[in-house]
Symmetry: C2
Subunit: 385 residues, 2 copies
């Protein structure tokens, strides 16, 4: 087997979760997923499609009506665009690797902002890229910030691709519109493509944008900029297990992505796309409730954590995670395993997301029952003290 594949790390989150198997009383906050089932109206659309016998192959780039609906939805959130810039994929992660397949040759220089969801750094490695990571930094208050000049300096004329995830998993850090404009301007000069993972855009709580969504590169880019935005139905519609996402890209890239989709997954199931179509068409009835609930989760959890002696964390503007550090514990994997075994709390170790997050812990607050979060903090307090 390839050395590049053997070198890929197993998930450290899963390593912690495995340590908790068999103890059913663990409160699991480790995975990036709500514990709430997909809304009934969305499931009903998928079921109706199956009952109608829609079990055949479909277009590589997705059902035309879904591409149109996604284009309309994106146009409402950002700038007007058409379905010729949309490609439907089998999940956000498939969108990411297909975009990278379109852009990265083995040996190409790729820059990524970290800490980040490990898939974003593993994928360039699978494709043989020369990966350079630019770290975010944590302030004294527990909020994470970008050193913009350092990022721009790393994006050299020879850099093929910038990979950036904002709102960021795990830190909640979110690019400002001004930072996006500066990055885009710089990348125009170096000829660098931007691959922006914006799957948490709707889970944004700052209230400082017209649409309510997080600032997006789509708000500042021209249609022909070297920009690919990755989206997913997982977060804003509670559809993690359906495996559906999409790409927003320059129109002349779409046929190339269509070819690559044929060779990666061929197409997404029609009944999954029908469910997603129902989701997008009913987003006003579905998403604001989800976002309001998640904001409530965040606003319940973070003050409780901040009141625990020795804990440092900040209310993130976006995403569904609290990212925290506990004084005196520098080994996040060891700490997470102890918390599972000794306190029955399941958290993700920061080191899973990059070395600069060593010592930190990620706590997913997407909990249907907000009281679970309080119970988790109570367990942490008991264990610490």
């Amino acid at each position: 087997m390839r050395q590049a594949v053997l070198n890929l790390e197993e998930s450290k989150i899963r390593e912690v979760a495995n340590a908790g198997f068999g103890s059913s009383d663990v409160l699991p906050f480790w995975f990036g997923e709500s514990d709430e089932v997909t809304p009934e109206a969305i499931r009903a659309a998928g079921i109706a499609s199956l009952q109608a016998g829609e079990t055949f192959y479909s277009h590589n780039l997705g059902l035309p009506e879904l591409r149109q609906a996604v284009a309309d939805y994106t146009s409402r959130l950002h700038r007007p665009l058409g379905p010729e810039r949309i490609g439907i994929t089998s999940g956000g992660v498939s969108a990411l690797i297909v975009a990278m397949q379109a852009l990265i040759d083995a040996g190409d220089r790729v820059v990524a902002v970290t800490p980040v969801w490990p898939n974003l750094t593993a994928q360039p490695r699978i494709l043989g890229a020369d990966l350079h990571c630019v770290p975010l930094h944590a302030d004294a208050d527990g909020a994470w910030r970008l050193d913009l000049p350092a990022l721009l300096a790393a994006i050299t004329p020879g850099t093929r691709l910038l990979v950036v995830n904002s709102p960021n998993n795990p830190t909640g850090w979110t690019l400002s519109q001004a930072e996006q404009a500066a990055i885009l301007d710089h990348c125009r000069g170096t000829g660098t493509w931007i691959l922006a993972d914006e799957v948490y855009e709707r889970l944004y709580y700052a209230g400082d944008t017209a649409s309510g969504a997080a600032p997006s590169f789509l708000d500042v880019a021209r249609p022909d900029d070297r920009l690919v935005v990755v989206q997913s139905f997982s977060k804003a519609f509670l559809m993690t297990g359906w495996r559906l996402g999409y790409l927003v890209m320059p129109a002349d890239m779409t046929p190339q992505v269509g070819k690559l989709l044929e060779f990666n997954t061929s197409c997404a199931p029609v009944f999954v796309q029908r469910a997603a179509l129902a989701a997008v068409q009913q987003t006003e009835a579905i998403t604001p409730r989800i976002v309001a609930h998640l904001k409530g989760c965040r606003d319940a959890l973070v003050p409780l954590l901040q009141a625990v002696p020795g804990v440092r964390t900040s209310a993130a503007p976006g995403g569904m995670y609290a990212f925290l550090r506990i004084e005196g514990f520098d080994d996040s994997l060891g700490l997470a395993k102890r918390l599972v075994a000794e306190a029955a709390i399941g958290l993700a170790p920061g080191v899973a997301f990059g070395p600069e997050a060593e010592g930190w812990l990620r706590w997913c607050f997407a909990s249907k029952d907000v009281a679970r979060l309080g119970e988790g903090v109570a367990r942490l307090r008991r264990w610490l003290g």
Copy 2:
């Protein structure tokens, strides 16, 4: 964008199909798909899962109970093996590209037997492989044969991977067990991996094997041989649109594939896997009927075609295609387009599968209504003269 991606050919099958849009009276035999909906019992299992709220992430390698069921099913058809050798994927095509990601570095020498489904030769190109094709040859009777010494000579000690599809799409050519043993023995000597696309194994009509399935590399290989077999639920269970497949591989490769699945698709939807579990558990009630019907389709179509003056074709031992040549027509793409426009018959051009198949046409005989096949031949006769 990458030159390797720009160089990938658009599907010539789709080019023909596009030429037929707007004329609803075309009989479509161009795609590799039955026109029969997935059996009700399979759809019901998927629907029940959705109703039960199984809408969350799952294991990268698939549900443990599905992996066990697939291992049992494979053990019945071939040699005993356990679930540690099975990985569930989002379609056969995803299984193929993930296997190639595990095995091929850019620049590696890859040998493929052609003509073949174009995805099998496009995927190594996407990964930057150095691809060498070994052509099959058509006999005077229209049956295709392998030049085994030529194939073995192409598999040099520096060859990383052999890609072979048997029963073959488009020709129906099927490797004998003796040929598989000779190829395996040779590849053991050169250290070459074998990636065997055996998705048509159940659609086998020769009746010369104990299981009824086509000869498989799994019948002759040891558990630790460098062999990866790709399978799909599409053909034997009429589940094309569900996008579910699996890999059979050496046990020590499975964790590596698990990592790659995380970075390609994460996991297949649970409700799709529940449907597949029902399919495998009820295969005796489902698959023999499908295979018998397809054999009936083949045995109806091929003699009718052979009776058309100037047509050369042979009853294929496996698959769901008649592969034919019409005297006096050497440009298969041009011919296929004319047949759509002038005769309202939709066939796939042979050149889509490799240059050695130029002049040939692929006719998918997976038709619920056998009379459609006769109507197609009648149209061909009228058009020819």
